[in-house]
């Protein structure tokens, strides 16, 4: 694999990381902590929304984020032909 390709592969990986970790931060620290009070004004069923994000929602999002990353990277590995045979 050429250096140029390697750079491109790594840059795309970093782009994925930045996007996914921004979501990770926004959901847990944003919705679950910093803006929890404001979101508590909204209710979904019996759950105040800020409370729901802090004790439920953020955990679901964490799980989804990892599987999204796994899929993105598997595709990227194939595209750059660096996947494991």
């Amino acid at each position: 694999m050429s250096n140029k390709d390697l750079n491109q592969y790594w840059k795309t990986n970093l782009k994925y990381l930045i996007i996914l970790l921004s979501i990770w931060f926004t959901v847990s620290y944003g919705c679950g902590i910093l803006f929890a009070d404001a979101l508590n004004g909204i209710k979904i069923g019996g759950f105040p929304l800020g409370f729901w994000f802090a004790q439920q929602g953020s955990i679901y999002v964490f799980v989804v984020l990892i599987f999204v990353y796994v899929n993105l990277m598997n595709k990227l590995d194939k595209k750059f032909d660096v996947d494991e045979k």
């Binding site: 996914l20 990770w24 729901w52 955990i59 984020l65 996947d83 494991e84």
Partner: protein, 563 residues
């Protein structure tokens, strides 16, 4: 049948299961002993990681803590799960590609330095040992209370079981036993939660149930908020008495600590491929999430049940569970106004009831009048949680000694067979040592666990991340960063923890940050020091820069090797 007989039967059966699995999964080589031969499927590894990660604290204490903290309990829920995102995205695949046995292995090779390896080795042993002592104590307590044996006897039974499968099977035995333990503990945690959810809100899914309505048509959480405020407590679902800055910092510190704990990281060396390491972190979090999303539901149910059962009720009419826990002094009632009724209120001067938070999970099935076998199941689950975590930690200690210290430092010519024997002896000594320490636990064990997270966050996490993402990082930067990060964090915790003999008071907290949350600042300090020092010193050798480029791409990940 009584709870005690049920407990004997269920705990006995689970122990037979663990021993059977251990005999089936014996280790024959160092590779099997350290990383289970590197052939564990991502799904099985996910389950084993989940059991390894969820300790007696997650299983027995967390729901109780949340039920007394309300919203603020989120710091544990998010803190102990969010770290897996960091692990999966920033660490696991690269460490798997690197393909060695231990965390000190990575630090030592990436920073081409025996000093770095030794610093990492000492941190790994310290962090793991403080953790494991607490687990052994948990095992002793669970046995003592439910099998009515002496505390010491309980610990000895625990030592014997862990000794058997850890010494025999190493990582291979431990991994497959943990898969069995995960099944036991998750079943035992969710079954009572489902029963109680059906009872209270008629919904079999606890995660949805605690947002549901009760028989009288009001939402359960609204009802609980009302009950809490009526008694002078803060609203259950709002920030209340928790201060935002500490919820923020403690959450972050637990997340970073999770991603830096050696017994978690080493898990990702056991799968065959890089893409398995990524996927395995996802499975691990999925399996952990089943417990972590059930726990806040359990907390809400338990809190509501508790208040409704005791508040302003006549003491003489209390159910048997109340009397039973009163005997063990974990519930105390003093009738201050002599009216024969229980006043459970926020005002300390008027409050008559004190409840130990740790009993909530164990007492919950009794409070909800569930059958005796469910209670016995909860005990078996607690033991599974404690034993699986203890085994994983002990393995880290043993590998640090036999592999990193003996093989890589003191006796480089030791044979494979000799190293395996050394690993077995090391793990045997570690099990017995941890058991004895658990017998006479230093009073500050709980405090030291906070230290373990802080240390992991402020030492390993930045050193590993920079080792992967910053090609220019050299040994001077990494060592300086680790030392500054650790010393700063340890000093802050010592200074502000009176239990450790420190002189500080809460008024002196920097930016109001509690010692439990300081690992974040330690981590940032480590990052800054590492970057500055590395840019002022010479760049790492060419072969190290090539190594970094190599671990960034998945292809060519062979099996983990020790040579």
């Amino acid at each position: 049948m009584t709870v005690q007989i049920w407990t004997f039967i269920i705990v006995g059966l689970t122990f037979f299961l663990y021993i059977g699995v251990a005999i089936w999964a014996r280790a024959g080589s160092t590779k099997e002993f350290y990383v289970a031969g590197g052939g564990v499927s991502p799904l099985a590894n996910g389950m084993a990681t989940a059991a390894d990660w969820m300790s007696a604290a997650s299983y027995l204490s967390m729901a109780g803590l949340i039920s007394f903290m309300g919203y603020g309990g989120a710091q544990y829920l998010m803190g102990w799960t969010g770290g897996y995102v960091l692990l999966a995205l920033l660490l696991a695949p690269y460490l798997r590609k690197f393909g060695k046995f231990t965390v000190p292995d990575f630090i030592g090779e990436r920073y081409y330095s025996k000093t770095a390896r030794l610093v990492a080795l000492l941190c790994a042993i310290l962090v793991s040992f403080t953790y494991v002592v607490g687990q052994m104590k948990g095992v002793g307590v669970a046995f003592a209370r439910f099998l009515e044996v002496e505390f010491a006897t309980g610990i000895f039974i625990g030592i014997a079981i862990v000794f058997f499968y850890a010494v025999l099977g190493g990582m291979k035995g431990i991994t497959y036993t943990q898969v069995a333990q995960y099944c036991v503990l998750i079943f035992a945690f969710t079954v009572p939660a489902i029963f109680i959810s059906l009872q209270m809100v008629g919904n079999p899914i606890p995660q949805l149930g605690f947002g549901g309505t009760m028989a009288d048509g009001t939402y359960l959480l609204d009802k609980l908020n009302q009950l809490s405020t009526d008694l002078g407590f803060a609203e259950y679902t709002s920030m209340g008495m928790n201060d935002r800055i500490n919820v923020f910092f403690i959450t972050a510190s637990l997340m970073l600590g999770t991603a830096g704990l050696p017994h978690v990281i080493v898990r990702f060396f056991t799968v065959p491929k890089v893409r398995d390491a990524r996927k395995s972190a996802g499975y691990a979090l999925l399996f952990i999430a089943i417990l972590y999303t059930t726990a806040p539901a359990v907390a809400t149910f338990a809190r509501t049940n508790l208040i409704q059962t005791v508040s302003n009720k006549s003491y003489s009419e209390m159910p048997t569970w109340f009397k039973k826990w009163e005997e063990s002094k974990l519930i105390t009632f003093t009738d201050k106004n002599n009216d024969g009724r229980i006043q459970y209120v926020a005002d300390k001067g008027k409050n008559e009831l004190v409840i130990d938070r740790d009993i909530m999970v164990l007492a919950n099935p009794e409070i909800a009048n569930l059958p005796a076998w469910v209670i016995a199941l909860v005990v078996a689950g607690g033991l599974a949680a404690a034993l699986s975590t203890a085994a994983g930690l002990l393995l880290v200690i043993a590998t640090s000694i036999s592999h990193d210290l003996l093989k890589k430092n003191l006796m480089p010519n030791i044979s494979e067979k000799g190293e395996l024997t050394a690993a077995r002896i090391a793990i045997a000594v570690a099990v017995v040592g941890a058991g004895l320490a658990g017998l006479n636990p230093p009073g500050f064990v709980a405090q030291v666990v906070a230290l373990a997270f802080g240390l992991a966050a402020s030492s390993f996490f930045p050193a590993i991340i920079l080792g992967i993402f910053d090609k220019r990082m050299n040994k001077e930067g990494a060592i300086a960063g680790m030392i500054v990060g650790i010393l700063f964090t340890a000093a802050y915790i010592w200074y502000f923890k009176p239990q450790l003999g420190g002189p500080g008071t809460p008024e002196g907290y920097w930016f109001g940050i509690k010692p439990e949350g300081i690992g974040v600042l330690g981590m940032l300090l480590n990052l800054v020091v590492s970057l500055v020092v590395s840019r002022m010193t010479s760049e790492p050798p060419q072969e190290i820069q090539e190594l970094v480029e190599d671990i960034r791409i998945p292809r060519g990940a062979g099996a983990a090797t020790g040579h």
